[in-house]
């Protein structure tokens, strides 16, 4: 028996838990089926009410969880989903300390964005449909984070993918938007396939269940992982890489990130909820959930860290030159998730979850802020036609500025603490007998520099300087009160949210303490895998370094866009063109993957489908049946005697078979 006792904790029954998940589903069903008949008020009440109630219930449950002995979790087994051989898969959910954080973020930020949406979508014809999708998304996301085993997680994983597709293509009459939805869906399929293959391999090696926690330390995935790590490390690495490919799809990492920038075609609150705060971080959550597996594979972790760092830098450089307000934020999201992935890769699971949380606050705030701007300017998204909006949109401006400071990493805003934790881990965390991955650290620092620059470029071009659009739009620009409240709450969280994870040398890292039952074993005790520097001096030095980097980025942006007032890009050079065209990755994929696939599909359609299947099988069989039918016309022409004759012939045939052939 492999030793996984250090991952064993007791379960407590929870009766509220199913309701947290069911309420959004109920909302989705009501609004989806009958929404057209309801008034807008009723739709809002159902849509927002179900999520806010889920948030309140979640809060109650998390408070209860906090009162339990350290490491225990709440769970509920609804029923046995299916069983095959020795494998039992239950439809069961749990709230442990890891999913509790996700639960609060998802229902909390989700509630705010639902409220914001009531203003943003006010005039849209598909109001009820929108809320039905949004609630369905919440339901799927809750399945994903509360699932007690890998299969329930996977159902949620597919569900959020579907909802993402539906919401990106929400305005499906616009062909471009519908295509963006398809791109997201198809790109995610690639990752999901890898996820599924990984799951099948785990099924093969499983000890009777795919639960994230074993009963008394035995069974479940921890034991499977321990077994694989012991007996088949190559297989373990393969499984980890497969799951990571799944994560690159959902969490938009190289090479599958291409769908996320296009996903901005959806309504902006959707971008805030799904494509910034919650769904896209699912890959990070999944890897953190499977920490007991990833931590065992050195190779897989290195791959994760390198891919994350490259994504962070790659996306940040593209973000430097984009002119669509949402596109900048989209690339920023890809880049920021890259930071989280780096953190997972270097063993800083706490940092990954920490940054996931703070990022949810400030990025949701930024997206909602951009939504407020777009709403005010009648769907204008080009920042070259903005400027000076601080006069018209004061609340949006201040909240946006706060979030920019947070994401840039200015001290005491939320992003400062979480990003520093990641950089600190990247610089110092290492396994027994190996060195920290300095390459990853350096790449991440450069990405951080770019982040500070593009965020403040965005801020200056949007809110400072002079307005560059047409006068009519300017005169009508105004804020919606209902949309301001979520902004203020999120900006508040982006300001103070970081204090749950104070630097290590202060020994007051609340988040680390909270997650200690889940991740603690990685750093301390006999099973410890990662070693982190405990030098306060080093930590402070790194911190000062990253503050300087952030200030440098901001100063650079200020010089270019405030002092020299450049609305356009500074130079017309080859690298600028390269960045504007996003490194031609879409074109590359188009040439290497899409076109050959299309050609194959077209071939299949023209030759296999039309000629062979339709021609030979369908029409051929119809013709054959027709021909046979012609011959048997005297049977199937409705002549009862013929039918009876067939029966008699059948009996005779049976008798012949029975008597002579058997």
């Amino acid at each position: 028996m492999n030793e996984v006792e250090h991952l064993a904790h007791a379960a407590h029954e929870s009766s509220l838990l199913p309701w947290i998940i069911l309420l959004p589903l109920l909302g989705a069903i009501l609004n989806g089926l009958f929404g057209k008949r309801y008034s807008q008020k009723t739709v809002s009440l159902i849509g927002v009410g179900s999520v806010v109630t889920a948030f309140v219930l979640s809060t109650l449950e998390v408070i209860r969880l906090a009162g339990l002995p350290e490491g225990d979790y709440l769970s509920v087994d609804l029923w046995r989903w299916f069983s095959a051989g020795e494998l039992n898969v239950e439809l069961s959910f749990m709230i442990d300390r890891l999913s509790a954080i996700m639960l609060m973020v998802v229902t909390g930020v989700g509630s705010l964005i639902h409220v914001f949406s009531t203003g943003y979508m006010k005039t849209d014809e598909g109001y009820a449909r929108y809320f039905a999708y949004l609630n369905l998304f919440m339901f799927s996301m809750l399945l994903l984070i509360l699932g007690k085993n890998l299969l329930v997680l996977f159902v949620g994983w597919e569900g959020v993918g579907l909802c993402s597709y539906l919401l990106i293509g929400f305005w499906f009459s616009d062909m471009e938007k519908a295509e963006a939805g398809q791109k997201a869906f198809i790109t995610n399929r690639v990752g999901d396939l890898a996820f599924l293959i990984g799951t099948f391999i785990l099924l093969f090696y499983s000890y009777g269940s795919l639960d994230f926690v074993g009963v008394g330390g035995a069974g479940g995935l921890p034991q499977t992982a321990a077994y694989l790590g012991d007996k088949a490390p190559g297989m373990l690495t393969l499984v980890c890489i497969l799951f990571f490919i799944g994560a690159t799809g959902k969490s938009a990492q190289i090479p599958l990130y291409v769908w996320l920038p296009d996903a901005m075609a959806g309504p902006t609150p959707v971008s805030a909820l799904i494509h910034a705060a919650t769904m896209v971080t699912a890959g990070v959550y999944m890897m953190a959930r499977l920490n007991f597996m990833f931590a065992l594979s050195d190779v897989a972790m290195t791959v994760v860290a390198v891919v994350g760092a490259l994504t962070a830098l790659f996306a940040a450089t593209i973000g430097l030159v984009q002119n669509d307000i949402k596109k900048v934020l989209a690339y920023s999201t890809v880049s920021q998730i890259g930071f989280m992935v780096v953190s997972v890769g270097v063993g800083g699971f706490v940092g990954a979850i920490f940054h996931l949380m703070t990022h949810a606050f400030f990025k949701a705030c930024l997206f909602l802020g951009s939504g407020s701007v777009i709403h005010a300017l009648h769907h204008e998204q080009d920042i070259r036609k903005m400027g000076g909006l601080k006069a018209k949109l004061p609340v949006t401006r201040w909240t946006f500025l706060i979030s920019c400071l947070a994401i840039a990493g200015i001290p005491f805003f939320a992003g400062f603490f979480s990003k520093d934790e990641i950089l600190f881990f990247a610089a110092t965390a290492h396994r027994e007998g190996s060195n920290p991955m300095l390459f990853v650290y350096i790449v991440s620092v450069v990405a951080a520099l770019c982040t500070a620059f593009y965020m403040f470029r965005l801020y200056f071009l949007t809110f400072e300087g002079k307005y560059r659009g047409d006068k009519h739009t300017w005169d009508h620009a105004h804020e919606e009160p209902v949309m301001n409240w979520p902004l203020i709450v999120l900006a508040g969280l982006a300001t103070v949210g970081g204090f749950v994870g104070l630097p290590h040398f202060l020994h007051a890292h609340a988040l680390e303490g909270w997650l200690e039952p889940i991740f603690g074993w990685l750093y301390e005790g006999e099973h410890a895998i990662f070693h982190v520097s405990h030098s306060a001096g080093l930590e402070i030095a790194l911190m000062l370094g990253s503050v300087l980097i952030a200030l440098l980025g901001i100063a650079f942006a200020w010089r270019l866009y405030m002092r020299e007032k450049l609305p356009e890009a500074p130079v017309d050079a080859w690298w600028h063109k390269l960045l504007m065209n996003k490194y031609y990755v879409d074109e590359f994929y188009d040439a290497v993957l899409v076109r050959p696939l299309r050609a194959t599909a077209s071939f299949c359609h023209r030759v296999v489908d039309v000629r062979i299947i339709d021609g030979l099988f369908v029409r051929g069989s119809a013709r054959l049946v027709g021909a046979v039918g012609d011959g048997l016309r005297f049977f199937q022409n409705g002549d009862v005697q013929a039918y009876v004759t067939a029966i008699v012939v059948g009996i005779a045939a049976i008798l012949v078979v029975v008597e002579y052939l058997l």
Binding site: F617, L624, G638, V640, G650, I651, V657
Partner: protein, 537 residues
Amino acid sequence: MQAATTTSDLAIISPLFIVCAMGLVALLVAVFTPKDSFKGWLGYVVAFGFALALVAVVWLWKQAPLTLSNESLFFALSVDHFGLGLTAVILIGGLLAALTAVDYLPSQRSDHGEYYALVAFAVLGMMAMVMSADMLTFFVALELMSISVYVLAGFKRQSAFSTEAAMKYFVTGSFASALLLLGIAFTYGATGSIRFTEIAEALASPQASLPIAQFGVVMLLAAFFFKVAAAPFHMWTPDVYEGAPTSVTALMATGVKVAAFGGFARMFLTAFGDARFRTGDLPWETIIAIVAVASMFAGNLMALAQKNLKRMLAYSAIAHTGYIMLAMLAAPTSGDGTVWLGPGLIFYLLGYTLASIAAFGVASVVSGNDVEDVNEVAYAGLAKRSPAHALILAVAMLSLLGIPLTAGFIGKLTIFAEVLDGSHNEYLWIVVVAVINSIISAFYYLRVILVAYMRDEAAERPIQLVSSRSLTLAAGLAAFLTLVVGLVPSRALMASGKAGGSLADSKARAASTATVNDVHTEADAPATASAPKATKL
């Protein structure tokens, strides 16, 4: 268990009583109400009766297996989990089918109260059929069902189409009944008994006249193949399914099929279930395998060419007969020759019943204003006209096709797994054939969805909807249950397994009654543990 011993005979056969009483009520009311008044409410009455009977069945299920203390009833009816489980499926099908008729019949100008009486009597026959434990009860039950359905098939009297269907069904059906009687007579001649369990014992003794029994079995098989519409005994099916009013077709595709499969499965597995006979002297299993393959191909290939939804579903029914027959191949035999069934047969019948009701329900919905020919024009563009009905249709088609998350998928999976396990992969080839057939069937099932969702409504012939809450409710409920059973199959699978397994008990139970008053039940006893507790008769 204490309660079981005190359950009176009347209580044990209460489901039959309730259904019979409802039928009589409907008949009387039909006589005394004015001719032109709306009779649909009788549909609700009969449906209520079915629901009540269903409750009784559930109540009895908890105490089963039950034995009747009246001697003649004791040998005639076997109220075990098998009978009760199939009765439940029949009642669900009957209930939903009755609801589909409420507003559909007026739309076809055939709103007569006798309809519901006949439905009740047909269902009564079906229930008795799956519970019958001897040949004569079986025959009477089958005829009660058949004659009621003959009349129902021709219920739309003014339509030549419908009357022709009834006539054909009647003539060929009578022929099949004659074959059945012939089979019974020969079996009696060979064994001297009409009771299933005694036939099995007689056949096991060396004096048994196997050639005569063999001929009898072939005749019984022919009747069975006719009733379940297996090729080449299927030719009546498309004509009758198409010609009969759609609500009747729904009942034929569900109740009649369930009853025929249930009744004959019990007969073959109890009376001729011994492993020696199944592939040896009385090779009914081999015959069924061949006929199953023929049915799958005949059904699926012919269905490809059909434009009429009802006719397509008729051929699809023939194909499904082929799949379901595989479940009978899978019946495992224990060392002492007792045979039982896995969950596959009953579960599949449940899933098929639900999907069929949903499909025929939608076929009824689109035959408003007396549309008789339910071809593609009748439902092209349904998704825009009535999204709910299009969704129901899509769910039904996906379940019939066997797409995951539907009952049809789990049913197929269970049967295929059973066949492979039960035959130790000897029947691998037949599973391969079945899978190939499932793939073929995708073409015509998906085409229905394609037509309903992608085509535009024909401008010159708009969709004629029957606006009916009961019809939508019945079809919607069926589609919903299809998904529920597909998503959470474990309970239904467990119940089906229990029902199938209870067949093994019947032999032991029959042997265990020296005096019929000394009844006992073994609700919790495992199949093999129920040893005889008293001397043989």
